[in-house]
Amino acid sequence: MLLKEPHDQKPHKKEILSNTDDVTISYRGEPSFLLTSEKSINQTNDSIALKSNWHASNISIKLIAGFLIICVLTVMVGYLGLIATQQVENLYNFGLGMTTFESMLQGESQLGIKEGASYIQLGILTGVGLTIVSSIGIAIWMLCSIKKTLQLEKKSLITEFQIKNERLLAMSELAARLGHDLRNPLMVIKGTLDVMKVYSKNFDEKTVRRITRLCTAVSSMTRLIDHMLNFVKTSNLEIANNSICQIIKSAIIKVDNPENVQLNYPNNDLKINCDYRLLEIVFANLVSNAINAIKGKGQITIRIIERKTEVLIEFIDTGPGFSSHVTSKLFDPLFTTKVYGTGFGLASCTSIIEQHKGKIFVKNNPTTFTVVLPKEQIDSTKVDGEML
C-alpha cells in the first residue's frame, strides 16, 4: 500500500518527532527515549534500559564489579577456613598424642587443648559469619550505589530529553513559520500564472505547456507545505458527537475515486465524540492509500466494529500488502513509497489518532488499517465551561 494524502486538507495538528542524526523520539505509545551518538544504549539490554530510562552499560559494569568482589571474598574466606581447619586438626592430633603418652600426668591439658580447638572453630565460624554479613553489606552498598547512579543517569537522560524536545519544538515552530511564509511567494507565482493563463489564447502551444508545468509545480509545493503544516501545527480538538459513517462519507468525497474501485461502506453506524475535520483527514488518507495500493482496481471495505469502551474502524483493501521493513517505517514522517508522496500522510494520521487517545495499526493478508478510538473522548474545552 502506498502513502497518499488527499488534496486540500487543512493543517491543524502537531506532534513533534524527528529523525535527525543523533536523536529519535518514539511517539506511538512506546516510552520516549533517546539514542545519541555519544551515549549509546546497549543493544542487548536496550529494552530494559529504555523501559526504565537507565543506562545499560553502567549497570553491567557495577554488577560485574560487585559480583567479582563477593567472589574474591568467598574464595579468601574459604582458603582461610581450610588453613584454620588444618591447624585445628594438627592441634587436636597433638592434643590426642599428649593424652596417649602423658595422660596420667597432664590430664587437664587435653581438655584445655580441646577447648582451644573449639574456640578456634568458633572463631572461624564467626569469621565466616562476619564475611557473609560484610558480603551482604557490600552487596547492599553496591545496589544502593547502582541505584544512585541509575537515578543520576535517569535525571541526566530526562534533562537531555527535555533539551532535545525543546529543540524539536523550536524546529517545528520554525517549520510552521517557514511553511506559512512560503505561501506568500507561492501566492504571487500562482496568481501571476493565473493571469498568464487568461492570455493563453495568444500563446503558442509550447508556452501553454510550460505554464501548465509551472502550475503543477506550484500545486505540489502547496500540497507539501499543507501536509507539513498538518503535521507540525498544533490546535485543540474540536470535540462534538459525530457519526462515523458521516465522516467516512465526507472523507471519500475528497478522494478521487476511480470507476473500477468498489467501495463497501459499513452497514452499521456509531456516534462518538471526536473532531470531525481531523478524522476526515485520517479517513481520506487511508482510503486514498488503499486506492493507490490496489492500483485503481479492486475492493475497499470499511467496517465499524463496536467494543465495550472503544470502536474499531477497519480499512481493508485487496492490495498486495507490505514487506516487513516497509511496515516498520510506515508511520514515520517523510517516509513514502510514492513518487509524488510527501511522507506526511500516515504520520499525520498517527498524530491525529493519538490526539484522540486512540491507536492506529496495520496488518497484512488482507491489508487492513485499523483505527481504534475510545468511545468517550475527554473534552478539554468543556472543562473550561465552554461548549462547542
Partner: protein, 128 residues
C-alpha cells in the same frame, strides 16, 4: 462595477491580486500595506468590498476588521490568510468576517467569493 480596496503587507501579492481583479472588471480603488491604512482607506473610499490580509506587522487584519465593523457593521470584508489554524478561523468568525480565503488560492475562486459576498452572502470559512 464592484469597487474594492486591497490590503496586504507583501507588495508583490498586492500587485498580483490587483492585476487580476482589474482583469475581471473589479475596480481597485485603493491599496494599503497594513491594518491602519485599511481602516483609513475604508472610511475615505467606502468600497463595496475589502480584501484584507490577516498577518501584517503592527496593525494586523484582526485590528482592521474590528475597526471596519465598528464603523460599518454591514461592511463586506474578505479576509485573506496563509494561517490555516482553528484559532485564526475562530477569531475571524467571532469578528464576523464576510469570507475567508486561504493563500495560495485560485484567483477564479477569489472572484467567485467576491461576487458572492457582494450579493450579500456570508460565506465564512471557504474551503478550497
Amino acid at each position: 462595477m464592484i469597487r474594492a480596496i486591497v490590503v496586504d503587507d507583501d507588495q508583490t501579492v498586492l500587485e498580483v491580486i490587483c492585476e487580476f481583479l482589474q482583469m475581471e472588471n473589479i475596480d481597485v480603488v485603493g491599496r494599503g500595506n497594513n491594518g491602519k491604512e485599511a481602516v483609513e482607506l475604508y472610511r475615505k473610499l467606502k468600497p463595496d468590498i475589502v480584501l484584507l490580509d490577516v498577518m501584517m506587522p503592527r496593525y494586523d487584519g484582526f485590528y482592521a476588521l474590528q475597526q471596519i465593523r465598528q464603523y460599518n457593521p454591514s461592511a463586506k470584508v474578505i479576509m485573506v490568510t496563509a494561517d490555516l489554524t482553528y484559532e485564526t478561523e475562530k477569531k475571524l468568525k467571532e469578528l464576523q468576517a464576510s469570507a475567508i480565503a486561504y493563500k495560495p488560492y485560485d484567483v477564479d475562486i477569489l472572484i467567485e467569493i467576491i461576487q458572492q459576498v457582494n450579493q450579500g452572502k456570508q460565506t465564512c470559512s471557504v474551503n478550497f
